[in-house]
């Protein structure tokens, strides 16, 4: 995937987070994969909740993925969503397995 496309996805996720501002859930990072069936890239978005637990009802999980689809729908072939609390995100994704794979939605200042 070209860098310009990655930047576009990031920009759209930043816009999604603006839309979600004030809520308990926001898009923290994402990674991309090619998918032969969908004939294009699919994106996996990792949402982080500020609550101590993730509201795991399908209705809630699908709601955020639908919002992401509204923002990104025409840039990628499919959108998958993963949900973590802040502490679980740090434990599960801030490690060597993911450092080279994940792209932060809001890039940290150097």
């Amino acid at each position: 995937m070209r860098n310009s496309e990655i930047i576009e996805i990031r920009d759209r996720l930043v816009a999604l987070n603006s839309e979600l501002q004030g809520g308990a859930v926001f898009a923290r990072s994402f990674y991309l994969e090619d998918d032969a069936v969908f004939e294009g890239p699919v994106v996996h978005i990792i949402f982080v909740t500020t609550e101590s637990e993730v509201d795991d009802s399908l209705e809630t999980l699908d709601k955020f993925c639908r919002k992401a689809n509204d923002q990104l729908g025409d840039s990628v072939s499919y959108i998958y969503c993963i949900y973590r609390t802040e502490s679980d995100y740090q434990a599960d994704f801030e490690n060597d397995n993911w450092n080279t794979v994940l792209r932060l939605v809001h890039e940290q200042a150097a």
Partner: protein, 163 residues
């Protein structure tokens, strides 16, 4: 006697609710996998149950995973020749859930970088349960039965002849 897909769903649910402590990674991964196979076998059951009992076990394995994924994607977009109208919301939901559940199952079985949480496995069991319920809803409506038939036919790679 329970159907295989019902048993698999119960198995998936039991793996994330151990009698003591938190579920192990292996339990969460196997739960996600069992959830997917529960939905897969439900579809296989609907297909094979159209035929006599002596043929069912031969026919039940005919749909394959990649074909189901392609079929679901095609039907969601209204690109199947087997349906002349826009897909119902229920069919779109089934297709979306199947695609998401299959992706989760592939990751749970092979992606060793991923650390699973109960929320992931619960999502998978809930999706499997919703797929099975929605298939039953469509089957209960004569007008909608053709939508499930279309999903099965596309999953068997049988395209509709030009009308």
């Amino acid at each position: 006697m329970n159907k295989l897909h019902d048993d698999l769903l119960l198995h998936a649910q039991s793996l994330i609710a151990p009698s003591q402590g938190r579920p192990a990674q292996a339990d969460l991964r196997r739960s996600i996998s069992a959830s997917y196979y529960s939905a897969f076998h439900c579809l296989c059951y609907v297909w094979s149950n159209k035929y006599s009992s002596g043929l069912r076990h031969h026919l039940s394995r005919c749909p394959d995973h990649l074909a189901i994924r392609k079929a679901a994607n095609k039907l969601m977009k209204g690109n199947s020749g087997w349906i002349s109208t826009a897909p119902s919301d229920t069919l779109v939901q089934i297709c979306d859930d199947i695609i998401r559940l299959q992706e989760s199952r592939i990751s749970a079985d092979y992606n060793i970088a991923m650390h699973y949480r109960k929320v992931d496995a619960k999502e998978a069991t809930d999706r499997a349960q919703r797929i099975i319920q929605n298939i039953q809803i469509l089957q209960g409506s004569a007008a909608s039965t053709s939508e499930i038939d279309a999903l099965i036919l596309e999953s068997l790679k049988i395209t509709c002849p030009a009308r």
